[in-house]
């Protein structure tokens, strides 16, 4: 009975649904989006205001992207807080973590595709951060930006990464991740002899529950998309200036806050990479949760991993709030 919502939170199924929404809405947006610096922002305005249901389409794509990031983060927290990452699920934990990283990159590349004054700060500061990496920074910057400064080559590269490179890799990882869930014996539960209940739900029942989650998520997504339009701003006039909004997308606000406190490479590159490495090492450096404690929240035997992740999560949230400080009324 571990397929209960209060155990899984339905995060995995909801994430798959949001990915499907993103693929459909993104594919439809491609009919109108023009990936050139002169036309990108205007084509987004065309989608938003002149294409029938275009505004709804764009808002659905935007909100599905934001929700996917939140749902994936909740999924990651759930897996660690229930000790579901341990052997034989260590590989799948890493696959899920890689997927989470890809979702962040997909959100960031999608954000840049707006190519309006709202994204200018993140584009200039984000790409310049790559330059600070000792030894290979200049080369990586050239690879990413395609020139001495962001321009037409940058936009087409971000576009290709967004709709093809990252999408393809994320799709392959999603299939592998789902396959491993089955291969590893489904949701983490105690061995048969240690289970409190041997009751299992049928596939049809599971499907029903997934459909309920999808319908409710779909309803929420529709209302969010109608009531809160996706951000939009005037087209960029001068790429090197930092006109318009001077903040990162919300999921990178914690990095923006760190950048205020010191060395860009140390705080803007190394710290985020170390956080990622720490998350990746959780199944390898912390004690394995006891078998009889699997399938429930906050098992005592993996408390240390829970505390570490909770501290990292709270710090990230705190830094986001600090960065939002000057923006909030």
């Amino acid at each position: 009975m571990q397929a209960r919502w209060r155990y899984t939170l339905g995060a995995g199924g909801t994430a798959v649904f949001l990915v499907l929404v993103l693929i459909v809405t993104g594919a439809l947006e491609m009919f109108f989006y023009i990936p050139t610096p002169a036309e990108a922002a205007l084509s987004i305005q065309t989608i938003s205001y002149l294409v029938p249901f275009g505004g709804l389409l764009r808002n659905l794509h935007y909100w599905a992207g934001q929700l996917l990031l939140v749902v994936s983060a909740v999924h990651l927290l759930r897996v660690v807080f229930t000790g579901a990452y341990a052997r034989p699920r260590r590989l799948n934990y890493l696959l899920g973590l890689a997927l989470f990283l890809f979702i962040i990159l997909l959100d960031f590349t999608g954000y840049i595709l707006r190519w309006d004054q709202g994204i200018q700060w993140a584009l200039v500061v984000g790409t310049n951060l790559v330059k600070t990496i000792p030894g290979i920074g200049g080369f990586l910057y050239q690879m990413l930006v395609g020139g001495a400064q962001p321009g037409a080559a940058t936009l087409i590269r971000f576009y290709t990464w967004h709709i093809f490179g990252l999408m393809l890799l994320a799709a392959l990882l999603t299939i592998w991740h789902a396959f491993r869930v089955r291969r590893d014996g489904g949701i983490a539960v105690p061995p048969p002899k240690q289970r409190a209940s041997s009751e299992r739900i049928s596939r049809f029942e599971l499907l029903r529950r997934e459909v309920i989650a999808m319908l409710l998520t779909g309803a929420g997504l529709l209302l969010l998309s109608t009531l809160f339009p996706a951000p939009i701003a005037p087209a960029i006039t001068e790429i090197t200036s930092l006109a318009g909004e001077t903040h990162a997308p919300w999921f990178f606000l914690w990095v923006q806050q760190l950048l205020k406190w010191g060395d860009p490479f140390l705080l803007g590159v190394l710290v985020p990479v170390l956080v990622l490495v720490l998350l990746a090492l959780i199944p390898y450096i912390f004690p394995r949760p006891a078998d009889h404690e699997l399938g429930r929240w906050f098992p005592r035997s993996n408390r240390l991993a829970q505390v570490v992740l909770a501290v990292v999560t709270l710090l990230v949230i705190l830094f986001i709030l600090l960065a939002l400080g000057p923006v909030l009324p």
Binding site: Q45, L216, I232
Partner: protein, 81 residues
Amino acid sequence: MTQRLLLAACAVFLVATGLVWGLEQRTPEPVALTPALTGEVEYCLTCHAGLAECCVTAGSGWRWTLTWRTAPCAVGPTPPT
């Protein structure tokens, strides 16, 4: 129990879809104008129907937008006639 929940979820989804459809239908038909001053098409007259010629240079709004919420315009609200 799950079947009732499924029906309730269907109802919630249908209500949300209906609401969104209704709100989308309220989007006005675009009224295009190309002022001689700018030479670029703009849709200010969709809302500012009472003004003879409105352009973003004067109104500082967004020439593509069709709703009050998305057009931060200095001319201010002019209900459609």
